[in-house]
Amino acid sequence: MTRINQLKAAGRVLGLFALVLALLGALAGKCVYASEFKVGMVLDKGGKEDKSFNNAAYDGFKHAKAELKITGKVIEASDDNSYEPLLRAMASRDFDLIIAIGFAQAEAVKRVSKAYPSKHFVIVDAEVEAPNVRTLMFREHEGSFLVGALAALVSHTGKIGFIGGMDGPLIRRFEMGYIAGAKYINPRVKVISNFVGVSVDAWNNPAKGKELAIAQYSEGGDIIFGAAGASGNGVFDAAEEEGRLVIGVDSNQNWVKPGHVLTSMLKRVDVAVFDTIRAAQSGQFAGGIFYYGLANSGIDYAMDQYNEALVPKAARARIEELKKAIIDGKIRVPDYYEKK
């Protein structure tokens, strides 16, 4: 009898002890987590390795992780209906900032940000109006204007090409800026323009990209701006085979085919993502639309050891002049988004 009582008592003591330990553990855990800033990022179906848009976003996250000591996760969506559950899952967990990459997630961000008004969200490339959502928009037409101008300066034939991925407002914006830049330098320049397709597959059809590029080169075009995601790889191949020039897009692609890449139009999603994370971490998160253009280096063109021999000094100087003029508002680059 007493033995059983003793056992019971011992059990109670042990139980209490365990409870205290658990509480301590929970508190300790809380303390550690409180000092960490946790960022969640949902990439679109292109995934981390697209060498372009999603890749740049992922780079921004990695940079923030290394420099700002944030923690968090980058997740690739598996299907069109998985954006919303993923964003929700992050919002219902202890993520402080949730970043959605790509316009395909606009609808999901709209709904989840409403369901979780105390969480902070970021979306790239699509406008979502809510006090807890920060929209990152890029002035792609400004950079396209500069590379168009450079193409017109460097071209020998007076004919240049444009190859877009999926035909839609975003890529029309690239095209319009590119043509405007080229015409600014040489009003008689001829721009041959093609789109790989009209569906999502158009971002990932290098064979078609190459076919279009070869056709444009054989029509006399000597420089092609390829704004076509992974289809652009076909344009690079064509440039190498035909011994002509090509202009890369989004990330710095000058290294892809050295000697054939005149420059790359940079869309610094990585910079925008990094800036946003830094602002949010220091408690400076603000909703609304944030524009990235030439003025704040969110848009730029790439110069490095791979292309310095291809760009004459005079042309470089002229482009720098134009860049300054756009930043100062002396040149207004036509914007497809305003036209409609």
Binding site: S78, P85, F103, D125, L170, S199
Partner: protein, 344 residues
């Protein structure tokens, strides 16, 4: 009783084996198998919303599973469920955009009918070719998937395209067509469209057990030559099987178009049509089995979604491996026959 248990044993073992293998491989990445399993279950059933998403993924799988099973019962392999579903979804959206004036209870019914009709037409073509020309239905249905994708893409982008949208999707259907999600599942798009798939499951079971056409169809599947000598019109049964199979698959797009997005979006399906094959095989072609199997694959689709979030090392690729292993072990008929002969 022991008969039922015996029949249930193999599918259960198959799923357990596939899961165990998949978790084992995923565990090689560095997370414990227990953590992964917990994350999987939590993601699939953790909350009303999560469970709702599981059901949302399951509903089309019930229908594509039934579609494949309908073909299998007649001895035909319908690999065209993906295309039939796509065209069904497109037809539902087209009706919803084209006839905005139809009042509420009639409107969704009309869209459902259109979806069935479009899918049935797409199934009848290989059915007719098989019955009259002897063309192999596997090749025809596979190729028809590509044609369906092309047709859907044309209509989406040139006829019903949403203006100002960056995505390849049609504009929204009229409000009267929408089947509103149940509030119980929070914001998950689970609606009466789920019940539709259960009704169709019951309907096919009745069709096989209680109708002459259903009996003839199964007779053709069991032994084509015997059926022919017994006076059954084999061609007619084959045409009927693939037409129905197409129609049922056509309905699989209904939850997406009328409840989730209210429009047709290109690439909305994560492969429901092809997963339907695994569902039909695992479900042993029975209505109840197919419902259970669809629930399992829906849970896997949803369950693997958060794996990347809740574990340290598991990525999207590993979750696909997990799904593939379950499918593989389910369809490894030879393995199970060998096990049975050896032990049971």
């Amino acid at each position: 009783m022991s008969g039922i248990l015996k029949r249930l044993l193999q599918p259960f073992l198959a799923v357990a084996l596939g899961l165990a293998l998949g978790l084992g491989i995923a565990a090689l990445g560095g997370d414990s198998a227990w953590v992964i399993l917990k994350a999987l279950l939590n993601s699939a059933f953790g909350s009303r919303y999560d469970f709702g998403m599981t059901l949302f993924y399951s509903a089309p799988l019930v229908l594509t599973g039934l579609s494949v099973a309908m073909g299998l019962e007649a001895g035909l392999f319908n690999i065209g469920a993906e295309g039939q579903m796509g065209l069904g979804a497109l037809a539902a959206a087209a009706v919803g955009i084209g006839f905005p004036g139809v009042p509420w209870p009639l409107a969704p019914a009309l869209a459902v009918f259109a979806a069935f009709l479009a899918g049935a037409t797409w199934g009848a073509i290989p059915g007719w070719l098989r019955a009259k020309r002897g063309s192999h239905e596997v090749i025809i249905t596979i190729m028809m998937n590509f044609i369906a994708a092309g047709v859907a893409s044309y209509f989406t982008l040139y006829v019903f395209k949403a203006p100002h949208s960056q995505n390849s999707e049609t504009s929204s259907v009229a409000a009267a067509y929408l089947i509103h999600p149940f509030a119980f599942f929070m914001d998950a798009p689970v609606s009466a469209a789920l019940l539709l798939s259960l009704v169709i499951a019951g309907g096919t079971a009745l069709f096989f057990r209680r109708t002459v056409a259903g009996y003839e169809l199964r007779a053709v599947g069991a032994n084509e030559m015997a059926a022919r000598f017994a006076g059954i019109d084999v061609g007619r049964s084959q045409l009927l099987a693939l037409t129905f199979a197409g129609g049922i698959a056509g309905l699989a797009g209904i939850p997406e178009v009328l409840s989730a997005s209210g429009r047709f979006r290109m690439g909305f399906s994560p492969g429901y049509g092809f997963m339907g094959i695994a569902v039909a095989l695992l479900g042993r072609r029975r209505a109840m089995g197919i419902i259970a199997a669809a629930l399992l694959f829906g849970a896997l689709q949803k369950g693997t979604a958060y794996l990347e979030l809740d574990t340290q090392h598991v990525t999207r690729d590993l979750s696909q491996i997990l799904q593939a292993l379950v499918i593989l072990s389910v369809s490894a008929d030879g393995l199970w026959r060998w096990l049975k002969n050896d032990r049971l």
